[in-house]
Structure formats: structure tokens, C-alpha cells
């Protein structure tokens, strides 16, 4: 029990800090006079107050956080923050159930971007900016979690590049201290976001839309201020800007940091993940574009390429914007996009799924098995980007991928039992566990997750949480060993 209380103590502090994030919607509300500022101020006070109370009540249990505390704290943060963040939504939107509000905020903080709300265009600007800010904060949180904290707990894909191997990509090349590393990454994240806002404004959005979509693109969340998502703008320039920034967000932010510090684009070529992500996604764009043109979905190749590129990049990077209803495309194309959403994003990015680094490990492991059959005496360590990956990490990756598929299968079955059709269940689980956004079928880009029953909504909420926290972090709490002393 003492362990849980120590974590609650830290959580209380986190909530007080989190309450500061209400300042942005308050500001927005004052600018646009949408009358929600009192509600946001109320939510802010409530969050800060409850956080302070938790902190005060448990101050006797203040102590060093161990690795076990770390797992508990991370999961507690990612469940408590969406819970308190529902407050403004519940107060402003009439008839919204807590289930749906929690799904919405969880979708925001896990940067999934699936929504249960309709009539987004008519929501008060402060509410929209709040949803998008959750996307952005979730992205920021996950970068630091993945680059700075998960490696300490031994889960993140990034532990593959620990200090023992030389090369430009090792983590120790960033900064010696976690806090310093985190601050640098946030600066990079904020800097790129700023560039995105300005680019979107120049491409023709108004300031509010530019800020909201930049937040959603950088967090790879995919919330939009319009029901028609990015299709509302129908502008190739906006789509192009978003494609560029979604790809940037799907790369490791540590790589961006190194490239900025070294003022050299060559760093990207040394990052095996970035190279694989970009070449796989861009290659798929051309392939799907050609496929849609060949199938006659669009009359000209260039239109096909435009729509294929935007929606494919958006799905593959786990962002989740849509510009057309790709549910209507021949089934190969959307399924391929869902497949990419599972594997394409880099570790240390804001994307989800199993991450490109694990995909590379899997592919190379298959190659190693072949070589072992041909040359039984061969010593063939796995190398990614010229660096040796230790065997125990390969096993950890295999274990992760096993759990990933088991989770997808189990949750799909649960949704099937609840009465959803196969394509909708399967695609909803994949879209949620990868934090991508829209699925296919009834949860496709033309509709949203509002059609689901409460039970189905909770299943999807759970999928988003375990997908975002790299499965192990959540599931470990359900093992008896974790609670044993």
C-alpha cells in the first residue's frame, strides 16, 4: 500500500503541473469570447486543488521512486490526466456521457485522434483548442517517456541504442542528464511545432485552425476542428505541409535534436529507422496512388497520388487525419494503410504501433535464421545501422510483438462478442492500439467512434492506453509478481 501512496504523492504534483495547461484554452476563450473561460478556470482550480490535496495527504509517503514505482506512476498519469481533462467537455457539451468524454480525452492524450464527437465545427474554440492541446501534450509526454524514461525501465525500443555501441545514434550523445535531455527534446518539439503553425497559416488556414492542426500533426494525434477533418480545406498546399510535418513527427526526435545541433542532414542517413520509415511510407504512397488510379477510383494519376499520399502518410504515421473517405477505396488500400500504421513510426517519435526499430529487428532475425541454416558455424550478430543488437533485446522484441498480436486478437474477439462486425472490430482495435485514429467500417473516416456502445468504447479506450504505453508497462501491473514484495 505504501508503494501506491508514494506514487499518488508524485501524481498529485503532476496534476498541479498539468493544471497549468488550462491556461491556453482560457486565453483562447478570452480572445474569441466564447464564454467558456469560467468553466476552464473552474476546471483548472479543481485539478490543481485535487492534485494539491493528494500531494498533501500523502506527503508522509514521499520517497525515492523505484523502477516498480515508475511503471505504476506512468500508468497512473496516463489514466488520471484524461480523467481530469474530461471536466470542461462534460460541462460545456450537453448530453455527453463520462464514457464518451473519457474516450475523447484518452484519445487526445494518447495521440490517437479518434473522436466520439460530431459537430466539431460548432464547438467553442476553447474546447477545440483544449482537445488539440491534449494531442500536443500527449506527444510531448510520449517523446520524453520513450527517449528518457522507458529505457530506464527497460522497455522502450530506444534501449537498442544504449551506450555500449559506438556510433552517432547512441543516447548518451544527447546529454548526460535526463532532465537536460528532456528539455532539449521539448525545445525541438516546440520549435518544429512553431514552424508547422506558420507553414499552415501561410498555406491558407486561419490562426486557430493552424495552431490546432499543428498540435494534432506534431503529436501525431489527428484531431481536427472540422467533421470533414482536413478534407474540409480541400487544399493541396495544406495537405503537403501536413505530410511533411507528419513525417518529421514520425521520426525520432533525438535524431532531429542531433541534426539540429550538428547542423547536418547526414545524421538522418545514419538513423536506420528514419531511413526505413521514410522510404517505406513514400514508396507505399506511390504504390497505392498507382493502385487507385489503376482501379479507376480516381480519374487521373495525380489526383490518386494526392489523396493516396495524404491519407496513407496520415495513417502510416499514426496521425489519423483524413481528406477523403478512404473506407470507400478497394479494400487492399485501407488495409495496407492499417498495416503500415502498425509498423511504420520510429521509436522516440510521437507515433504508435510496434515501431520501425522492432520491425527491423524482426526482419533481420528472419534473415539470421536463414543464414544459420546455411552456415551452422556462422556467428552473425544482429546489426541495425551498423550497431550490434544484443540477443536479449531481440528476445524482448519478440516477446513484445507476441503480446502485441495477442492483445489485438483478444480485444478484437471482445468487440466481436459485443456484436460489432469483423472489419469494424478489427480495424477499430488496430487503429486504437496503434494510436492511429479512424478505422474502417462503421468507425471509418466518414463516421466516428460515437456509434459504439459504452462497453465497446471502454474496450477501445483500453486499447489506446496499452498501445500508447508499449503494452508491457500496463500489463505488468496485472501480474501477481509486480505486487509481491
Amino acid at each position: 500500500m505504501g508503494r501506491a501512496l508514494t506514487v499518488i504523492h508524485a501524481l498529485g504534483l503532476m496534476l498541479v503541473v498539468f493544471s497549468l495547461s488550462y491556461l491556453l484554452p482560457v486565453l483562447t476563450s478570452l480572445i474569441y469570447h466564447d464564454g467558456t473561460q469560467t468553466i476552464f478556470l473552474l476546471a483548472m482550480l479543481w485539478t490543481a486543488g485535487s492534485g494539491f490535496l493528494l500531494w498533501l495527504l500523502t506527503r508522509r509517503y514521499k520517497g525515492e521512486l523505484s523502477i516498480r514505482h515508475g511503471y505504476l506512476l506512468v500508468v497512473a498519469m496516463w489514466t488520471a490526466m484524461p480523467a481530469v481533462a474530461t471536466l470542461p467537455l462534460l460541462l460545456v457539451i450537453n448530453g455527453l456521457s463520462f464514457t464518451d468524454a473519457y474516450f475523447e480525452t484518452m484519445s487526445g492524450i494518447t495521440t490517437t485522434g479518434a473522436t466520439v464527437l460530431t459537430g466539431l465545427d460548432n464547438l467553442p474554440p476553447a474546447i477545440n483548442i483544449w482537445r488539440h492541446e491534449l494531442n500536443w501534450l500527449g506527444g510531448m509526454g510520449i517523446i520524453v517517456l520513450a527517449v528518457a524514461i522507458l529505457p530506464l525501465l527497460g522497455i522502450g525500443g530506444r534501449q537498442l541504442f544504449k551506450a555500449e555501441t559506438p556510433g552517432p545514434m547512441k543516447d548518451s550523445a544527447l546529454t548526460p542528464r535526463i532532465t537536460e535531455t528532456a528539455r532539449n527534446l521539448w525545445l525541438v518539439y516546440a520549435g518544429i511545432t512553431l514552424a508547422c503553425i506558420v507553414s499552415l497559416k501561410l498555406a491558407g488556414m486561419n490562426w486557430l485552425d493552424a495552431i490546432c492542426h499543428a498540435f494534432a500533426a506534431m503529436g501525431l494525434g489527428g484531431f481536427s476542428t472540422h467533421d470533414a477533418s482536413v478534407g474540409y480545406f480541400n487544399s493541396p498546399a495544406i495537405e503537403f505541409v501536413l505530410i511533411v510535418f507528419m513525417l518529421l513527427a514520425a521520426m525520432n526526435f533525438a535524431t532531429h535534436f542531433l541534426a539540429l545541433r550538428g547542423r547536418s542532414l547526414r545524421i538522418y542517413l545514419h538513423d536506420a529507422e528514419a531511413v526505413a520509415t521514410v522510404s517505406l511510407v513514400l514508396g507505399s504512397c506511390v504504390g497505392i496512388g498507382a493502385f487507385l488510379w489503376w482501379q479507376g477510383t480516381y480519374p487521373s494519376f495525380w489526383t490518386a497520388l494526392r489523396h493516396a499520399s495524404f491519407n496513407l502518410v496520415s495513417m502510416a504515421t499514426d496521425c489519423g487525419f483524413a481528406s477523403v473517405d478512404f473506407n470507400q477505396w478497394p479494400i487492399f488500400a485501407p488495409l495496407w494503410m492499417l498495416f503500415l500504421s502498425s509498423i511504420a513510426a520510429s521509436s522516440g517519435s510521437t507515433g504508435g504501433g510496434i515501431k520501425m526499430i522492432r520491425t527491423l529487428v524482426l526482419v533481420k532475425q528472419a534473415g539470421r535464421e536463414f543464414l544459420k541454416l546455411l552456415h551452422p558455424a556462422a556467428i552473425n550478430p544482429m546489426k541495425i545501422g551498423g550497431q550490434v543488437v544484443a540477443n536479449n533485446i531481440v528476445f524482448a522484441v519478440l516477446g513484445f510483438i507476441f503480446l502485441y498480436f495477442i492483445s489485438i486478437a483478444t480485444l478484437t474477439f471482445v468487440l466481436l462478442i459485443s456484436g460489432l462486425d469483423f472489419i469494424s472490430s478489427f480495424s477499430a482495435v488496430i487503429a486504437c492500439i496503434n494510436n492511429a485514429g479512424p478505422g474502417l467500417g462503421v468507425v471509418g473516416p466518414a463516421s466516428n467512434f460515437g456509434v459504439l456502445t459504452d462497453f465497446q468504447t471502454w474496450v477501445c479506450t483500453l486499447a489506446m492506453l496499452i498501445g500508447r504505453l508499449e503494452i508491457f508497462t500496463v500489463l505488468i501491473l496485472f501480474t501477481p509478481q509486480f505486487w509481491r514484495r
Partner: protein
């Protein structure tokens, strides 16, 4: 000359042996008294036991009046520190260090006068690697040695059936290939030297040394023996310093397999090499060699630290069907025993690398030295200075030069131009002259010939 040698390992003792025979005062320093005792029993030199990087040891070894310091211990750092001390404290004129680590070698400023004061750095492993790489590039040759930054090569080849020159006098070479110039510098028949003349008839089994422009090697080789396809598959045994470097140098152009006995070392090698298949196992394990298809290997290189293992695995590979096998052999007694038998090439690392050191020890302006036939013969690249008055070679035709019998001028490099020597070729100042000497005893005479009379200064 008073020479101080630090380190009595492979390189140190071979250099000492070679230099003692040329009437130098040698002092050898090593931390291992046993090694020094063995050396002193055999050779006429002085030994000092101690840490070669300590000033007290160096002083005891007489660094104060030494003309040259050869720092060839196992440790790069000891060698660097010794050179620095020699320069700063004792003003030793010439300082040569053996440096293995590419980290140092890639940064020349480390060796500059402001830093570690190394006049020349040598890396025996690198020299050996380059030597073997050449042999793999020309699988028919026994030896390929370069002069004048690679413009001219001295190639040793065994005359073999299928060569048009076989059974013909040497002068036939000129009429058969008028456009390609080459000069036969020496012929060894049943290990005895012949002085090549126009009428000398080449027999099967002769070991022929010829000098030619590097671009023409393949065409000249074709005259001496039947040519095979160029090598593609290389198997290396032993992943030590040499094996690793060789694999690195070859892995882009050849299919390389490397067998190493130590599993830990295997894993490290596999991490560092990108295109080489690293195999864990015993190099004398017939099953492993068969399983890895040694019969399809073009060049098999046995490069472990153990002479016997190298010989046995090379024999085994040849037996199974490897095209050309090469064994690294440290003991000079074994080299003579093995060379020319089933093993195509027996490599003595000390003799391959010693040339680069000898070039600094020689009198006169010597640009390169290659030791041949286990140290019995030598090829030198000398630079001619002065004019007709002060020099005995400049301004003279080759047949006017008083060369000792058994020494041949093979080629002259003038700027970028390569001139293959004829009896009437005129030598000019600053020419690089490549001289082949079949007996080491004549070296002193050749050096003297190229020294400039004091009147020049």
C-alpha cells in the same frame, strides 16, 4: 650507427637480427628478461630490462648518444611516449614508432613535432595486409612489391606450363611483346641465383623476379605461366589483427569467410565487419572446411598466431581443393621448409615488414626497401643526387656504372614517368632507381655508389 630498439617481440628481434649483421651498435630494451636473454645468446648486441617508456631505462640503454630510436613494443602508447621523451629530453635525431591503432594513424598531427615527435610511423599489420591483398589481386604471383608510390612493381612468379616464354631465351620477351616493357631482375633456379642475360633460357619451376610498370603486371605474368580466373572467394583463418584488417580490406570486392576459434573474438569481429561471414570453429577441422566449401575457395589465407596450425590448415585446404593457399609462418626455419611444396606461399611477417624499417637505417637516400627470399636478397629504391662530378651514378649510362655483379638496375622513375632500364639508359639527378640485389653482402657497395661525395655540400 647506434640504434636503440624498444621491444623484443617479433618485429623487434627481426630488426635487431637484420641490423646487427650490417655492423650497427644495437641496444634492445624490453620488460621481459627472458626474451632478451634469448636474443643476446644469438646476436652480438646489448640488452636492457625495463619499461621502455621510463627515462631511467632509456638512459641506461644509452639514448643520450643514440642515432636512432626504433620504438616497436606491443603498446602504441609506450612507443609514442618513448618517441616524445627521446625528442624532448635527449634530442635523438631519428625516431620511428610502430603504431597499430588506426585512431592514431588517421590523425597525422599526433605524430608532429609539436606533439609526439614521431618521424616515421610503421604499422606491420597494415603492411602485411597490403602485401596479402596484392597477392590476392594477382593470384599467380608469389610476391608483388611496390616502389615509387605504386608506380613500379617487382613481381615474383614461378614459371609454369602455358607461359609462352617457357623454354625460350629472355630476349624473346622483347620481340614477343614489343609494346610492354619489363625487365627480368633475377632468376632463381632450384633456389640458386642466376644472373639473367639475354640468352638465359627459362625453365619450368624457375622463380622469376621482374620489374614492370604496375599497370602491366598482368600482361607480363601471362608470359610466364597460364593465367587463372581472377580470385573471387577468399577464406581467412584467424581473426587476429592481420585477419581482421585483411577481411576489412577485402570484404567489399571479394566474398570473404573468416574462421576464428575464440567465440568472444568471433562476436566482436562479426560486429565490426559488415560483409564478411564470420564462422566459429577450429581451422584444422576438416568437417567445417568441407561444410563451408573450401574446395571452391580461390585464395585460402591461414593467419593465426600458431605456425603449426597455419601449416596444417593450409595443407588441409589444399588437399580438399582450395586453388591457392597461403600460410603465415613466424619461424624462419619453417618458411624454407614449406615454401614451394604443397603450400603455395609461406609468408614470414617479419621479412615482409622489415623492409619499411630498413629504408630508414640505410645510408644514402633510400626511399624503400623490400627484403626478398627470407632476407637473402633485397630490392631497394634509391634516389640519385648530385651531378656527374659529385655522384658516381648521375649523368652516366647504366653500363658505365660500376655495379657489383649480382646487382641489377631494374627501372627508373623520373617524376611521374616510369623508365624500364636498358644498358644505355642515362641516369639523371633526382631519379628514383630501383636496384635488385641477389646477395645482401653487396648492399653496402650499392649504397656507397649512390652516396654523394662530400664535395657536393
Amino acid at each position: 650507427m647506434k640504434i636503440l630498439i624498444l621491444g623484443a617481440g617479433q618485429v623487434g628481434s627481426t630488426v635487431a637480427e637484420s641490423l646487427v649483421n650490417e655492423a650497427n651498435d644495437i641496444t634492445v630494451v624490453d620488460a621481459d628478461a627472458e626474451k632478451l636473454r634469448v636474443l643476446q645468446d644469438r646476436l652480438d648486441l646489448r640488452t636492457v630490462v625495463g619499461n621502455a617508456a621510463h627515462p631511467s631505462t632509456l638512459e641506461q640503454a644509452g639514448i643520450a648518444d643514440a642515432d636512432m630510436l626504433l620504438a616497436v613494443t606491443q603498446s602504441d602508447e609506450v612507443n609514442l611516449v618513448a618517441c616524445k621523451l627521446a625528442a624532448s629530453l635527449y634530442n635523438t635525431p631519428t625516431r620511428i614508432a610502430r603504431i597499430r591503432s588506426t585512431d592514431y594513424l588517421n590523425r597525422e598531427e599526433v605524430f608532429s613535432a609539436d606533439n609526439f615527435c614521431v618521424d616515421f610511423s610503421i604499422c606491420p599489420e597494415q603492411i602485411l595486409t597490403e602485401y596479402i591483398t596484392k597477392l590476392i589481386e594477382f593470384p599467380e604471383a608469389l610476391q608483388v612489391l611496390e616502389f615509387a608510390e605504386g608506380k613500379v612493381s617487382l613481381v615474383a612468379v614461378r614459371a609454369f606450363e602455358g607461359g609462352p616464354l617457357l623454354g625460350k631465351p629472355l630476349s624473346f620477351l622483347r620481340t614477343h611483346m614489343p609494346q610492354v616493357e619489363a625487365r627480368v631482375a633475377a632468376i632463381f633456379r632450384k633456389d640458386r641465383p642466376l644472373i639473367p642475360e639475354g640468352g638465359t633460357v627459362i625453365e619450368e619451376g624457375d622463380e622469376i623476379f621482374f620489374i614492370a610498370d604496375t599497370h602491366n603486371i598482368r600482361r607480363v605474368l601471362k608470359e610466364m605461366r597460364r593465367m587463372d580466373k581472377p580470385a573471387k572467394r577468399v577464406m581467412i583463418v584467424g581473426g587476429g589483427n592481420i585477419g581482421k584488417r585483411l577481411a576489412k580490406a577485402l570484404e567489399r570486392d571479394y566474398q570473404v569467410k573468416l574462421i576464428e576459434f575464440n567465440k568472444k573474438a568471433c562476436e566482436k569481429l562479426a560486429g565490426e565487419l559488415t560483409n564478411t561471414l564470420v564462422l566459429h570453429g577450429d581451422c584444422t577441422d576438416e568437417k567445417l572446411l568441407q561444410q563451408e566449401h573450401v574446395e571452391e575457395v580461390d585464395v585460402f589465407c591461414a593467419l593465426t598466431n600458431d605456425d603449426e596450425n597455419n601449416i596444417m590448415s593450409a595443407l588441409l585446404a589444399k588437399q580438399i581443393g582450395a586453388r591457392k593457399v597461403l600460410a603465415l609462418i613466424n619461424r624462419s626455419a619453417y618458411v624454407g621448409l614449406v615454401q614451394g611444396g604443397k603450400i603455395d606461399i609461406a609468408l614470414s611477417p617479419a621479412h615482409v615488414t622489415i623492409g619499411s624499417l630498413l629504408a630508414y637505417v640505410r645510408r644514402g637516400d633510400v626511399a624503400a626497401v623490400h627484403s626478398l627470399r627470407r632476407g637473402a636478397a633485397e630490392a631497394l629504391e634509391l634516389v640519385a643526387h648530385g651531378d656527374r662530378q659529385s655522384s658516381q651514378v648521375v649523368g652516366r649510362r647504366i653500363n658505365e656504372i660500376d655495379l657489383p655483379r649480382g646487382a641489377t638496375i631494374g627501372a627508373i622513375v623520373r617524376g611521374k614517368q616510369v623508365v624500364i632500364a636498358h644498358h644505355d639508359t642515362l641516369i639523371e639527378a633526382e631519379d628514383h632507381v630501383i636496384v635488385f640485389v641477389i646477395d645482401k653482402k653487396m648492399i653496402r657497395k650499392v649504397e656507397k655508389l649512390f652516396q654523394v661525395n662530400l664535395g657536393f655540400f
